[in-house]
């Protein structure tokens, strides 16, 4: 992340960017496969009445199963890390604000971490 002196520190160990890229990739797959249908149903089809919306009880019954909670946890967490990584680079390249490096890093991955924690809390409590 510190650019110039990073060459020394990465001499024997590969850069930790690999970790964030792996999260980005995992999040990308989850987002690609699952978000369209979920967004279509909950964001468009149900509110607009194209399809019968599941009742509160039906949803609660679904959400209560541990498998569903796990599914929802990964559905919330991984795409956030996908966003974090991609948005960070969009800010670097799109707006050329690479000098705000640390702030952007904290905002993006911090935000993803916050969302992950919130998801964990909500799914634990339901």
């Amino acid at each position: 992340m510190t650019g110039k002196s990073a060459i020394e520190s990465s001499k024997t160990k590969p850069s930790s960017e690999a970790f964030f890229w792996l999260l980005f990739s995992a999040g990308g797959v989850v987002a690609a496969v699952l978000i369209p249908i979920q967004l279509f149903l909950f964001g468009l089809a149900f509110p607009l009445g194209w399809l019968p919306a599941p009742s509160y009880d039906h949803l609660m019954a679904l959400v209560h199963s541990p498998l569903a909670r796990l599914y929802l946890f990964f559905l919330c967490s991984l795409p956030l890390f996908h966003w974090a990584h991609r948005f960070r680079f969009t800010l670097y390249d799109g707006l050329q604000v690479k000098h705000l490096n640390e702030v952007i890093f904290a905002f993006c991955y911090g935000g993803a971490l916050l969302g992950t924690v919130l998801a964990a809390y909500l799914l634990w409590s339901i």
Binding site: M1, G3, K4, A6, I7, S10, K11, T12, K13, P14, S15, S16, E17, A18, F19, W21, L22, S25, F89, Y92, D93, Q96, K98
Partner: protein, 257 residues
């Protein structure tokens, strides 16, 4: 009666100009002419001071890369007729490189970056001559052959926005050539290239825009090479976490054994 085409060419003389300006030249539109032919015509018959690089005129030396109507192209492979009669064709030096004069760019940055990735066969052991040649099956060749087609024309650098935004970014061609050697079963130097490649200015600077692959005249697909190496580097990072000691470069055996 004869068809004509107008070339608007960027001119820059460092001792005279602060910034490049455009000069228009009318050139006959011959069916078989490429942009390079037009430039040669101008230099021969109109303005001998026009400065540009070219050599083989057949798309293998990589010298004649320029921006033609905003697209990085080999001027020896770009036909004038594709622009139509009476068209105006803008010719500029390759983008994102410093301009030395007219259409000539400074390639020192690129050459330094190329050298950094060690684009040559690295051996840990040197078998004696009596052991004979390295043997390589067609399948082993196929693994890296596409990336070996690079002619260092730097069109990909002119296409890549990250190259323009980050001067330290190693860039598509260099990364693809590094991967060409990493994938060559005669090479044992993946570990040596790791520090340069798996670095924020190496593969991690790439955001897979994909423009490099689109403009490459030899279909090298540098974007593909970089993404493949990202996966390799990521798995390598995971391995370095799980087994920090004895983390050896996992490389498929050399051709001899």
């Amino acid at each position: 009666m004869a068809d004509k085409i107008v070339l608007e060419i960027a001119r820059y003389a460092p001792d005279r100009d602060e910034a490049p300006s455009f000069q228009s030249f009318e050139v006959p539109l011959r069916k078989e002419w490429v942009v390079l032919d037009a430039l040669n015509h101008i230099k021969d018959k109109v303005d001998g001071t026009l400065t540009y690089r070219w050599s083989c005129r057949m798309g293998i030396c990589g010298s004649c890369g320029m921006m033609v109507n905003g697209e990085p192209k080999l001027t020896c492979a770009t036909f004038l007729s594709s622009y139509g009669n009476n068209a105006r064709v803008r010719v500029e030096p390759l983008r994102y490189f410093p301009v030395v004069r007219d259409l000539v760019t400074a390639l020192s940055d690129f050459l330094v970056k190329l050298q950094k990735v060690k684009p040559w066969l690295i051996r840990r052991d040197q078998p004696p001559l009596s052991a004979g040649e390295f043997l390589q099956t067609p399948e082993q060749l196929d693994l890296y052959k596409q990336f070996s087609m690079c002619i260092n024309c730097t069109l990909c650098y002119a296409a890549c926005p990250v190259v323009g935004l980050d001067q330290e970014f190693v860039g598509p061609a260099a990364l693809a050539l590094a991967q060409r050697y990493n994938l060559d079963n005669r090479d044992q130097g993946s570990a040596e290239r790791l520090a340069t490649l798996a670095h924020p200015d190496g593969i991690w600077g790439c955001t897979f825009v994909g423009e490099c692959t689109r403009v490459c005249p030899k279909h090298v697909d540098p974007a593909g090479a970089i993404q493949q190496y990202k996966l390799t580097a990521a798995l390598d990072w995971v391995k370095s976490f799980i087994l920090p000691r004895g983390h050896e470069d996992q490389h498929p055996g050399a051709a001899h054994d």
